[in-house]
């Protein structure tokens, strides 16, 4: 579903993403983990067409993001780590706006918006301006807006930031449910317990390069460490982090 081929992004001579190649199957939850500054957000920005790769390519559902950006954007839903929104719109208006950008008509939006507000427990806040929302409510609204056009791929950067345990469970269940219906979830996260719990495939990235990838079992073998993902992560990134 998602194919990275020799993906590289250079900023002023520094490689933020270095020759990254990956294949992510349809209907899987993929964990993209790494320390700060590893190139996770840069990769996500390239996947969503916000940044252009210096070289290499990304294909999502067969479309190349550099050549067919609009085809790709139509089928992805982005959940960024920081909930920057239009503070002067109400939650409902924001969902209308987001649906409109994806060409959804009024009939579909009339059905979809109340359903999403209900799923994310925002119904009673739907008519309030976003500026009065808490951090967690904004995050839930962003997730709702990313799902409004029923994307085939959900790209998510730190999904649990600001979510309370109830919200976090809601999101985990939602990702599992979506994956079971064929939606691919690409998830960048620091929360190793989350990656361990929901991801079928994981890539550990450091300094722009993939240091290990595969199922959690494969990672154990590559790291030569038995145990939880935290131990594997620390073992695989120890050398580079010290350096």
């Amino acid at each position: 579903m998602i194919v990275f081929k020799n993906l590289t992004k250079t900023y002023r001579g520094i490689k933020a993403v270095d020759n990254l190649s990956l294949q992510i199957p349809r209907g899987s939850i993929f964990g993209f983990i790494g320390p700060n500054g590893a190139g996770k957000t840069t990769t996500i920005k390239m996947m969503t067409g916000v940044l252009r790769p210096t070289s290499g390519s990304i294909r999502i559902d067969g479309f190349d993001i550099a050549r067919e950006p609009f085809q790709v954007k139509k089928i992805i839903g982005l959940i960024p780590d920081r909930p920057f929104l239009y503070e002067k719109l109400s939650g409902t208006e924001f969902l209308w706006f987001k649906g409109g950008l994806y060409g959804m008509d009024r009939i579909r939006l009339d059905e979809e918006i109340p359903h999403l507000l209900n799923t994310f427990e925002l119904t009673e806040w739907g008519d309030e301006l976003i500026e009065s929302y808490s951090h967690g409510m904004k995050q839930r609204l962003i997730i709702a807006s990313a799902l409004i056009h029923r994307p085939k791929v959900i790209i998510v950067d730190e999904p649990m930031v600001a979510l309370d345990p109830r919200g976090a469970k809601l999101v985990k269940d939602l990702f599992k449910d979506k994956a079971s219906k064929g939606v691919t979830v690409f998830m960048s996260t620091h929360t190793l317990a989350l990656a361990q719990e929901v991801c079928q495939h994981i890539a550990i990235v450091d300094k722009g390069r993939i240091v290990a990838s595969g199922t959690p079992k494969d990672l154990e073998k590559q790291a030569g460490v038995k145990g939880d993902l935290e131990s594997i992560f620390l073992a695989l990134t120890a050398g580079t982090t010290k350096a």
């Binding site: 609009f70 920081r82 706006f97 987001k98 409109g100």
Partner: protein, 565 residues
């Protein structure tokens, strides 16, 4: 380092760092800004120098007119300073993001209040000081003022600024005490009333229309009397005018009373502000932090209007335009600026309504049509100024939320043209209202009415395209306050481009319009060659217009396509 110094340090450190960091293009921007500012400064100086030289050559009333003009300038500056402080204080004292950090620190409320008041004073005063200087300098040069005059500028302007700041801050503290700062719509409603009152008082004090119409006075003594009484002796601006004029004209006699009045008022108001801050500032700030429920006033009207206007468009374009309209009308900073500009439009129309056309030595019908033609340019500049504030920042107004557009399937082209359409319609309506209403006041010919309405209609297409396009070429998505975008380097480039565009169209049309009008009034026949020239000029106008729409939009599109967030 004292707590007060610490609290004001971030602003200065930030300013210093941004100067240090600016290299290459950054330095070029600073240089261009300085050059632009100096040119404006020089033009203002030259204008006042010419006017004052003319005044000084007039016996008897020359000095009276010059003093009157000085009183008007100081009164206008003083009024603008008060209003500017009201608007800036709302943000600096109640809404800024860094206030949370300040209030959670061990600094006292008084220290926080004083530091934020200092910010307000600097933010509100610097531009007026910079652009007030050429006027004051022109007076100094024309009246051969000595060093004492230039020194007096410091001890006269400082208390005047403190008085304006204290009054502005006092007004905002009282307003926020009764209305939470976040519900600034209510506050701004009160502010608009204040602006209207200030404008009304200003006009009542100055009555400029009477001064160009000496016939309305029974005697010369009465006319001179009117000139001598432009302001009230109870106003600080009057004390400042007296002080400066005494230095300028070299009148003997002490000005101790005016000095005492200025400084004692400034210090007394400062004490009152600090005392009032102790009583009500924190209560107001605290209320500003509370989450509020949404106001339902006017909501239905806005919803219905937005829905009706965007229904015929595609879902993506209509979503974008609806979002644009909603966020605009809910943004306090936009509203306050809109009111200020609304007041300018009222003054603009008022000036036309009091023109004494019947008493002009030039034949009235010529004057009316000439004024109507020049009015196209004036209205163009008004629209251009409005666009600099509202349309040029339209792309930047997406702010940190621009990721939503970037990651959506909406193309940059559609995004940019949606912005264009959203702003074009209100601007066309406003421009036509300005032109048609002033033409009605001027009682112009049908030909002039058609020419000016059509020209302004076409001009707006270019002015809006320049605003949207150049706004995309120079975007700032990381601004703290959208008003900063309009005063940036790109904003200056926009104002220059827009002015050149308007001037070019006016110059191209001037000859043909004059030829047609002259032929009409003199009963002459326009020759075939003249017709060719007239048609040629209008075709060039159309070409200029097409270039003014296409080029900036194409440049904006290119810039957005290259943008990497």
């Amino acid at each position: 380092m004292s707590t007060f110094t610490l609290l004001i340090a971030p602003r200065f450190l930030g300013f210093r760092n941004s100067l240090r960091k600016s290299k290459g293009r950054g330095n070029a921007k600073i240089l261009a800004l300085c050059v632009g500012g100096l040119v404006f400064w020089a033009v203002l100086f030259f204008l006042f120098y010419k006017v004052l030289t003319y005044f000084s050559s007039q016996e008897m009333i020359g000095d009276i007119l010059a003093r009157h003009l000085l009183a008007m300038v100081i009164l206008v500056f003083f009024s603008m300073l008060i209003f500017s402080h009201i608007v800036t204080a709302l943000s600096n004292l109640y809404l800024s993001q860094d206030l949370e950090l300040f209030h959670s620190s061990p600094a006292t409320f008084t220290e926080i209040f004083l530091s934020r008041s200092f910010y307000t004073l600097i933010d509100s005063s610097w531009m007026l000081i910079v652009f007030g200087l050429p006027v004051i300098m022109a007076y100094g040069v024309v009246y051969h003022a000595n060093l004492a005059y230039y020194l007096s500028l410091i001890y006269v302007s400082l208390p005047l600024m403190i008085i304006a700041a204290s009054l502005g801050i006092l007004v905002i503290m009282v307003l926020v005490r009764f209305f939470p700062a976040q519900r600034a719509r209510d506050i701004i409603f009160f502010l608009s009333i204040i602006v209207i009152i200030v404008l009304y008082l200003l006009f009542r004090f100055l009555r400029p229309e009477r001064l160009v119409d000496p016939d309305s006075f029974v005697s010369i003594a009465q006319y001179l009397g009117a000139l001598k009484a432009p302001d009230s002796p109870y106003l600080p601006s009057h004390w400042a005018t007296d002080l400066l004029w005494t230095r300028l004209a070299g009148y003997p006699g002490s000005q101790v009373l005016n000095h005492l009045l200025l400084w004692s008022t400034a210090l007394a108001l400062m004490v009152i502000d600090i005392w009032m801050a102790g009583l009500i500032y924190f209560k107001g700030f605290s209320r500003a932090q509370e989450a509020k429920r949404r106001s339902h006033v006017g909501r239905k009207i806005l919803e219905k209007t937005v829905s009706a206007l965007t229904r015929p468009l595609g879902p993506d374009t209509s979503s974008l335009i609806a979002k644009e309209v909603r966020t605009f009308f809910r943004d306090n900073s936009q509203w306050s600026q809109l009111l200020l500009l609304g007041a300018l439009v009222v003054v603009y129309l008022y000036n036309f309504s009091v023109l004494p056309l019947e008493r002009s030595p030039i034949k009235s019908v010529y004057l009316q049509n000439a004024l109507s033609f020049l009015n196209i340019g004036l209205a163009g500049f008004v629209i251009s100024a409005l666009s600099a504030r509202f349309i040029f920042p339209a792309v930047s107004s997406e702010g940190n939320a621009f990721w939503i557009i970037l990651s959506s399937p909406l193309s940059a082209r559609r995004f940019l043209w949606s912005k264009y359409v959203a702003y074009l319609i209100p601007m066309v309506i406003l421009a036509e209202v300005l032109i048609i209403y002033t033409n009605y006041l001027l009682r112009v010919t049908t030909f002039m009415m058609v020419v000016s309405s059509a020209t302004i209609f076409l001009l707006v297409f270019g002015i809006v395209a320049l605003g949207v396009g150049l706004g995309a070429v120079y975007p700032n998505f990381k601004h703290e306050n959208i008003a900063q975008v309009a005063t940036s380097f790109g904003g200056m480039i926009y104002m220059i481009s827009s002015s050149v565009f308007i001037a070019l169209v006016i110059v191209l049309e001037a000859g043909p319009v004059y030829t047609i009008l002259s032929a009409h009034f003199r009963g002459e026949v326009i020759t075939r060659l003249q017709w060719v020239w007239i048609m040629g000029s209008f075709i060039v106008v159309i070409v200029v217009l097409i270039v003014a729409v296409k080029k900036p939009m194409a440049a904006g599109l290119k810039s957005l396509n290259r943008y990497e967030g």
